[in-house]
């Protein structure tokens, strides 16, 4: 581990990488501040442009964007009552009322301090825990991978939105798309419509960029500008008061960070779940729960520290199991594979230095975030006033060039557009895209694991459910995820 740390530091502490982290954090803050433009979208757009980078630099760059975007989401949450990212949704509940009370600067300060604390602490945990967790990952065989894949899709489908059926349909559609390629066991061709590009591997990056970035652009075309709300820039004072307030509440910070770290390490959960659970827990434990939602600074701490803690911990399942912890880490998983880093139990053994560099970069990104967030937040918010007739074509051109450059393939560019239209249509009808993406990613893994499990058991299906304590626990968790919401509704009448 010490060797990996030293080598990881060696990779990280190059001027090039530190500069890239700074640039990436700024890009992330700007993109995160655009309402609806999530960390996932931003990382997806940036992904093809990392082709020119060394593998670990590429992932470091994307991770730093992720960190920046998660904080950036808080800026419009404070100032215009709109979360920039899904992870900042709970931030709105208290940050905007604070803004209305003339405490916008303080709310921004709290969100900066909480984001940095959550992200930094969780990144340190990640560095310390990755090796023990990787050991546990060795316990995962084919039945465990199948159960984990199913749990990931079911858990995500259940927590996103109110309609579990729509979430599950989205996930199943993703699994169906994943079935386009060769049969993993017999090698038979299927569903590729004669396109050699679809023969053995799906063009995964065009799918992701299409679903997230192109669909968002189509969505933006409908609007003249991103936000019509006026911004009271004058209220942007007292930022340091906010920072001080957050630091004087270490217990709140720790609680939110712990919740974010734990939830992030569960495949499929992500920031949008963590910030609400953390906010709800802070409210439950508070002496003044009635004040939550009315401008309570503790609510901002709870949401912001937890969502940035997720950025680091969601890399745990991504790196050691190859199962993404969130939509954004799903894109980062694609980046790892694109650059030849094979996630899985052997990652720390084979790519120990690179994986450690990625984790250490999260610490660096959070430190960089502290300075840049304090310096540029008040200007960044003007992004939301950009006219879409400028923003959309610029991003569209960059996206098409980026995806084309991956394989010099127009097929990829058209495939991206196709999935952009699909993503837009799904969003218009309130279908979450995340289960679909997870289905596409996990499809080959799940199908392969399912088929190989049956091969290993010579056809006995019980191997999928009761072959080990891990499979039993995962299926019970999946059952819980599937039934908890309807049961709660039933109990509440």
């Amino acid at each position: 581990m010490i060797d990996n740390l030293i080598q990881g530091l060696g990779i990280l502490l190059s001027i090039q990488n530190l500069l890239l982290i700074s640039i990436a954090v700024c890009i992330g803050i700007v993109a995160g501040a655009i309402p609806g433009f999530t960390g996932t979208n931003t990382v997806a757009i940036a992904l093809p442009f990392t082709l020119a980078m060394a593998p670990e630099t590429a992932v470091v760059f994307l991770a730093a964007i992720y960190v920046g975007a998660n904080y950036g989401g808080a800026i419009p949450a404070v100032l215009i009552n709109t979360p920039g990212t899904a992870g900042a949704t709970a931030t709105v509940l208290d940050a905007y009322p604070m803004s209305q009370q003339g405490k916008a600067g303080q709310a921004i300060g709290i969100s900066i301090a909480a984001s940095v604390f959550g992200g930094l602490t969780s990144a340190i945990f990640l560095v310390l825990l990755i090796n023990p967790v990787a050991e546990i990952a060795f316990l995962f065989g084919q039945p465990e991978f199948f159960a984990l894949s199913m749990f990931g899709i079911i858990a995500l489908a259940s927590v996103l939105g109110d309609n579990i059926a729509k979430g599950l349909l989205s996930g199943l559609f993703g699994l169906l798309i994943a079935a386009i390629t060769l049969d993993p066991v017999t090698g038979q061709r299927r569903l590729d419509f004669g396109f050699p590009e679809l023969y053995s591997d799906l063009p995964f990056i065009p799918i992701i960029v299409g679903l997230f970035a192109i669909s968002e652009l189509l969505y933006l075309i409908k609007k003249e500008k991103i936000s019509d709300t006026d911004i009271d820039v004058d209220s942007y004072d007292n930022v340091f008061e906010g920072v001080q307030y957050a630091l004087k509440n270490p217990f709140q910070l720790f609680r939110a960070t712990s919740i974010g770290t734990i939830i992030g390490s569960i495949p499929g959960a992500g920031t949008s779940v963590a910030n609400f659970i953390s906010w709800g827990e802070a409210k439950r434990a508070s002496d003044n729960p009635d004040q939550f939602g009315k401008g309570n600074p503790e609510g901002v701490i709870a949401s912001e520290a937890s969502n940035n803690a997720v950025t680091s911990s969601s890399l745990i399942p991504t790196l050691v199991l190859g199962i993404p912890g969130s939509g954004t880490t799903a894109v980062m998983l694609a980046a790892l594979l694109l650059h030849g880093l094979q996630p899985g139990p052997q990652l720390m053994e084979v790519f120990g230095a690179e994986a450690t560099a990625i984790m250490l970069s999260l610490i660096a990104a959070n430190i960089v975030l502290l300075f840049f967030a304090l310096a540029i937040s008040r200007y960044i918010v003007r992004v939301v006033l950009l006219p879409t007739q400028w923003l959309v074509p610029i991003i569209l051109v960059l996206t098409v060039i980026g995806v084309y450059a991956l394989n010099s393939s127009l097929f990829d560019a058209w495939f991206m557009i196709l999935f952009g239209v699909l993503g837009f249509t799904m969003r218009e009808h309130d279908y979450s895209l995340i289960p679909l993406v997870l289905g596409v990613i996990l499809g080959p893994l799940a199908e392969g694991a399912f088929r190989r499990s049956l091969e290993l058991s010579q056809g006995d299906p019980s191997i999928l459910f009761i072959s080990s304590p891990i499979t039993i626990v995962l299926w019970l968790l999946a059952l819980f995820a599937l039934t908890s919401k309807p049961l709660k509704r039933m109990i509440q009448g």
Binding site: A54, G187, R189, G194, P203
Partner: protein, 363 residues
């Protein structure tokens, strides 16, 4: 991501101990990729130079049919500087993964670029694109430059598995208990499946063959003892040496003794004639080529390519470089000139075609 017919992590076995080499490799990825992108977006090479006297006046586009970081990529990068020195030009690496290597192969043929585009074929994945992949090209479309690498097939067991002392124990058990021993392979149609299928035919043993999604997962399945055995290749499985040991090797004689626990050859240990399970079946080879169309029109350029390839692969410097890797890799170098390469590819094609039914039966 699914990988058909080939273990594209072919030489990752030595990565754990080869940090220095990896650093160097990683360092070159960025710059090479920048060049790659620039190349994608730029206009095609200037081929107006005509004759061979100024060839190569532009970078030679080298299409790798896998993603960055795989075995073929590393093999090309290992040779790159030696080849560039020899030909007094530059290689511009480009990655066209997908289609079980079909996308990359087709790209070389489509380029028709006056010998300014070359490709690397990983055998037998290359052959399977024409057998099971439905590729539009045929063997006569390829003009061979030479072969540079061989990686023989091996069967490994876990070191903690004390049921079997040697390969005879394994075969005996698998004959008496058909389907009881599970063996992982790196995919459904490949050299590993062929090796096992032929072994079953000649010995009467019956394994439960479980194709995995690539070489890494198939070897990992043995490390975690999910399966009883793995059929892999020498160099691509060398990183599992701490946990696993080689029972036997597909080779005329074991020239890789130090990497394979001094294991016997299959034919020696089990007493069958070598032709019944020819070592060429389960082995992997990397061969370089360009399109026949380009080669016919620019035969002098093809000659330069071939001479430079031979000079660099057989050079003392390249051998020294390979021997300095950890573990030493010089024995994977196996230069074959163009005519031998063509023959080898044809033999491989015939071999795979004639055994496709056998493979289908066992998976």
């Amino acid at each position: 991501m699914f990988v058909l017919a080939v273990d594209n992590t072919h030489t990752d076995g030595y990565m754990t101990t080869k940090i220095k080499s990896r650093r160097r490799f990683l360092g070159t990825v960025g710059s090479a990729s920048v060049v790659g992108i620039t190349g994608c977006l730029s206009v095609s090479s200037d081929n107006s130079s005509g004759g061979a006297e100024d060839y190569p006046s532009n970078p030679i586009q080298t299409i790798i049919p896998f993603s960055e970081g795989g075995g073929v990529d590393r093999s090309v990068r290992e040779l790159q500087s030696f080849f560039e020195e020899s030909i007094d030009g530059r290689l511009r690496l480009e990655y066209r993964p997908g289609g079980g290597t079909q996308i990359g192969q087709q790209a070389v043929l489509d380029a028709n670029s006056d010998c300014y585009t070359v490709g690397v074929a990983s055998l037998p994945a290359f052959n399977f694109t024409m057998i099971t992949g439905g590729a539009d090209y045929e063997l006569s479309d390829f003009a061979w430059i030479g072969t540079k690498l061989v990686d023989p097939g091996v069967l490994r067991k876990h070191r903690d598995d004390d049921r079997f002392e040697d390969i005879t124990d394994v075969i005996e058990y698998a004959s008496e208990n058909p389907g009881d021993l599970s063996v992982s392979t790196s995919g459904p149609y490949n050299q590993n499946v062929l090796g096992l299928a032929l072994l079953q035919e000649v010995t009467g043993a019956e394994f439960n063959i479980v194709p995995y999604d690539g070489g890494g997962p198939s070897r990992n399945a043995l490390v975690t003892r999910e399966v009883d055995l793995v059929h892999a290749n020498v160099y691509n499985s060398v990183n599992t040496t701490d946990d696993t040991e080689v029972l036997a090797i597909h080779a005329e004689e074991n020239n890789w003794a130090e990497l394979t626990d001094n294991a016997p050859t299959f034919s020696d240990a089990l007493g069958f004639e070598q032709e019944k399970v020819p070592p060429s079946g389960p082995e992997v080879r990397y061969a370089w080529y360009t399109s026949t169309e380009a080669a016919d029109e620019y035969s002098e350029r093809l000659s330069i390519l071939r001479e430079s390839f031979e000079e660099s692969v057989t050079s003392q410097e390249y051998e020294e470089y390979l021997s300095e890797l950890s573990p030493p890799q010089e024995r994977k170098r196996d230069f074959r000139p163009p005519d031998e390469t063509e023959q080898l590819v044809q033999e491989k094609q015939d071999q795979m075609e004639s055994h496709i039914d056998t493979m289908e039966e066992v998976i």
